[in-house]
Amino acid sequence: MNLQPAPDSAEEAVSCHALDYSFGDTKAVDSLDLSVRTGEIFGLLGPNGAGKTTAIRCITTLLPVPTDRVKVFGHDAAKEQMAVRRLLGYVPQQLSADAAMTGRENVTLFARVFDVPRRERAARVAQALDVVDLTGAADRMAKTYSGGMIRRLELAQALVSAPRLLMLDEPTIGLDPIARSSVWEHINAVRQATGMTVLVTTHYMDEAEQYCDRVGLMHRGRIHALGTSDELRGQLRDRRRKEAREAGTPVPAGDTATPTLEDVFRDVAGQGLDEEGGDYSDVRSARRTASRLG
């Protein structure tokens, strides 16, 4: 376990404490402790079915949680749902833009439901579309967008209310590599310009390594390791070296010396990782998203 001491609650964007969530007999989230610091990009990593989406849905108030388990900038997700929602920009895993409306109409809906006053609505929507480089396509129907454009449109929908915490559930699932890096570049640019906190789930280890300030490795409902990608990889490298020295086998060196994040994951998850793959509905939902992305 590499759990770091929790920072002061004042600088915590998200804190989960002993959070449980079960679907029937299945424990999707199992006494989860999580703390996301203000201003960072935090990556929640894990295979399908690890409980990432359930954890996200608890934080977004979609799933009912007991009091004092989940806090978003100090607001309790059970008692102050509306306050929490006002701080959130949420992009679910599915393609959640409405294909039967234009990009601009999609963003305007979210400006309306977040109470953006009429006099600044058009300007704010235009800025949100501009940030994700969709100004030129704003008045086209969303069904004519490419997969990457739809993700960027969803980003604009989430940004129009000036959230303090952006929550992205598998934002790059099903996208080609170019669209993936484009989505990440936009997330980064927005983060740099606004100082917004980003909580993202992904099962792409390379993305997490490249773009996240800190990562939490989640498996079977729990976080098994927490830290920067370098820290986690360094810790595993040092431990392997120590074990090798103690066992008297050759100490790994060169390219094999530093493990990848995936190695770290296999190490903390232990046996059974390959058999985990999410249930039927997880796979179906991921495939449906992928097929809509084209």
Partner: protein
């Protein structure tokens, strides 16, 4: 981080100049209290109108069935005079019933759309906005009312073209609009309630099919309650569609009706529907 990306296209994300999105740094001031509900209802209705503006196919295809009812069923039964209608031609008697029926069909379909929106993530995202569930359901309910209202205009035009003697009194037409919207609010909430219980689109489609025709036949839409067998009269009495049709007939044709009771029942039914559907909405979010 992004330094790792070379050769990116010009004008790409990190060329963002902070002045370009100053508005996105300030959260909007929240609406509070009673002002939340009308704002959300308007937002949902605007979405419905925008969608209809982009694609009017549904408006046309949904006009076919009521047109056939009026043209074939209405004309035929007007000639054979088999149904006692209190002195008015049968097609006149039928027209308000068909308006209510086409509104109900749209509303029942709305619950199926909620499940589709859930599967697509659209509903999920709306549930994470500062919108109380009752306000979201009210918004959806009235949006289905707006859709039904536009459909009602189409049916009224068809009926007028077939020679039905309808009122053109604007106040009465306003009453017709309110009745159509209230009825749709109830039936869309009924459908969302069932959606909240059965949770899947396939099951809801089946149930939707199974209840729409009985609701239609067990009402005064096609024939007066007086000629029904006793048990059907009881069903008709608790069927909000009967009250909707009664009000529509009274307003559009000037036949004797019980407007106060009709409006009372429709408002009550809509409120019960919104309450029940909101309390079950959480199940759809899971």
């Amino acid at each position: 981080m992004s330094e790792a990306h070379d050769g990116r296209r010009p004008g790409s994300a990190d060329a963002v100049d902070p002045g370009r999105f100053e508005l996105l740094l300030v959260p909007p001031a929240p609406r509070t209290g009673w002002r939340v509900l009308p704002a959300r209802v308007i937002a949902m209705c605007v979405v419905e109108l925008q969608k209809l503006r982009h694609d009017r196919t549904e408006l046309y295809t949904r006009a076919i069935q009521p047109a056939l009812w009026l043209l074939i069923f209405g004309e035929t039964f007007t000639h054979i005079r088999a149904i006692p209608t209190g002195g008015i031609p049968y097609i006149d008697f039928l027209a308000p019933g068909i308006i209510a029926q086409s509104a109900m069909f749209i509303a029942i379909f709305y619950g199926i759309m909620i499940i589709w929106e859930r599967d697509a993530g659209i509903l999920t995202k709306l549930l994470v906005t500062p919108t109380p569930r009752a306000a979201l359901i009210s918004g959806k309910a009235f949006a289905s009312g707006v859709k039904a209202l536009i459909q009602a205009v189409v049916v009224i035009v068809i009926a007028a073209a077939l020679g039905v003697a309808l009122t053109w009194n604007p106040l009465k037409l306003l009453g017709v609009a309110v009745v159509v919207i209230l009825g749709s609010a109830f039936f869309s909430c009924l459908s969302i309630t069932i959606a909240g219980i059965v949770l899947t689109r396939d099951r809801l489609m089946g149930i939707g099919q199974a209840i729409t025709m009985p609701l239609f036949f067990a009402s005064n839409a096609l024939y007066p309650v007086a000629i029904m067998p006793g048990w059907l009269q009881v069903v008709s009495k608790i069927n909000p569609l009967s009250y909707q049709v009664d009000a529509l007939r009274g307003l559009l044709l000037g036949t004797p009706s019980h407007l106060l009771l009709d409006f009372g029942v429709l408002i009550f039914a809509a409120l019960v529907g919104i309450t029940t559907a909101s309390s079950l909405l959480g199940r759809l979010a899971r």
